[in-house]
Symmetry: C2
Subunit: 200 residues, 2 copies
């Protein structure tokens, strides 16, 4: 029986290594690559290579960057006193989109998850403690890890670790999403929203 030529099969395998891409999609993508121009394919290959080789972690905030310190850490117009701790570079992007935060960041690159074998030393918590220990200007740490089990555990762990330091540790609020419907909110979110109620 005829099978696909080896280069096609190999590219299909590579696409299948990506998340949520199965054999059918991978085959479709591989054949699409075959129909792309040589320049486009080389551009794609180069982009893959460059992501791996031209990016590094900022020596200060651990965010991904082309040069260290990153543009946020180097930005003198931003508040050095407040630090927002997030799990991912994507979360930095999400925070920036709100235009509500003008402090600096610390990117953990994950959350503590015993289930997945991720311990405190596998994320950038040590770097965070070191940063706070050596920078007396920092007065508030906003922990903006995800509102799930791993994110909460990480937030708790960090807050306990920072007890000895003269900084205020806060956690972003839980509650109903704006535009959401009370009727469809899950009990845990609703309980948190009730617990976090404020006078108006």
């Amino acid at each position: 029986m005829w099978g696909y030529p080896e280069p096609i099969g190999r590219l299909v395998e590579q696409f299948m290594k990506l998340p949520s891409i199965g054999p059918k999609t991978a085959t479709r993508l591989a054949f699409h690559v075959l129909s792309m121009s040589s320049e486009d394919v080389e551009g794609f290959a180069k982009a893959l290579h460059d992501v791996k080789h031209n990016l590094t972690e900022c020596a200060i905030c651990c965010n991904i960057t082309e040069k260290t310190p990153c543009s946020i850490c180097a930005d003198a117009s931003r508040d050095d006193k407040v630090l927002c701790v997030v799990q991912d570079p994507k979360d930095v992007m999400a925070m920036e989109r709100t235009h509500e935060f003008n402090g600096k960041y610390h990117v953990l690159h994950g959350a503590i998850s015993p289930m997945e074998g991720v311990g405190p030393n596998d994320v950038r918590i040590r770097e965070l403690v070191q940063r706070i220990g050596t920078n007396e200007e920092i007065s508030e740490i906003i922990i903006a890890t995800n509102p799930n089990v791993e994110g909460e555990a990480t937030a708790m762990y960090i807050s306990r670790l920072l007890k000895p330091f003269p900084v205020r540790v806060t956690r972003i609020a839980h509650g109903l999403p704006v535009g959401g419907d009370l009727e469809y909110a899950d009990e845990v979110t609703l309980a948190k929203a009730l617990e976090g109620r404020r006078q108006i």
Copy 2:
């Protein structure tokens, strides 16, 4: 506002060029690449490059292959008298999976589609006619283009073009898919199934 570093943005753009991959999926894939090992990323980049540079079209059947003639055209155990005309290399794979066809193939690389600006000269119809004109052994052409408007138009076009040649031109049957349900069949398929009825 902070944006993703340029190499990430560029890789996101490259992923977005692939079919059915939007900005969110592309971003997720790009960050996945960032977390892959260097060897895996280089393997991916190389696979992309190789698909474009190590594959060619078989000089006989136009199927994609690493060397020409391809393994099917070079296979002396296969019947030279019957030619199955398909749109895509993927269709060769589908035909081979049936284990019912032991002839040779001709791959058009598309179907005539005026809507998408694909004319007869944009697919390998000229090569097919030339092949039949120079190979007197060929006695039957099975047209197995897709059972849709473009596939039918291509089948009709080819059958008319092959009128002057002493070959039998056939079309694969339309009808109810095996395991299907008559109740849920669309009218056109059902009409075709009725029209194509055979004595049992």
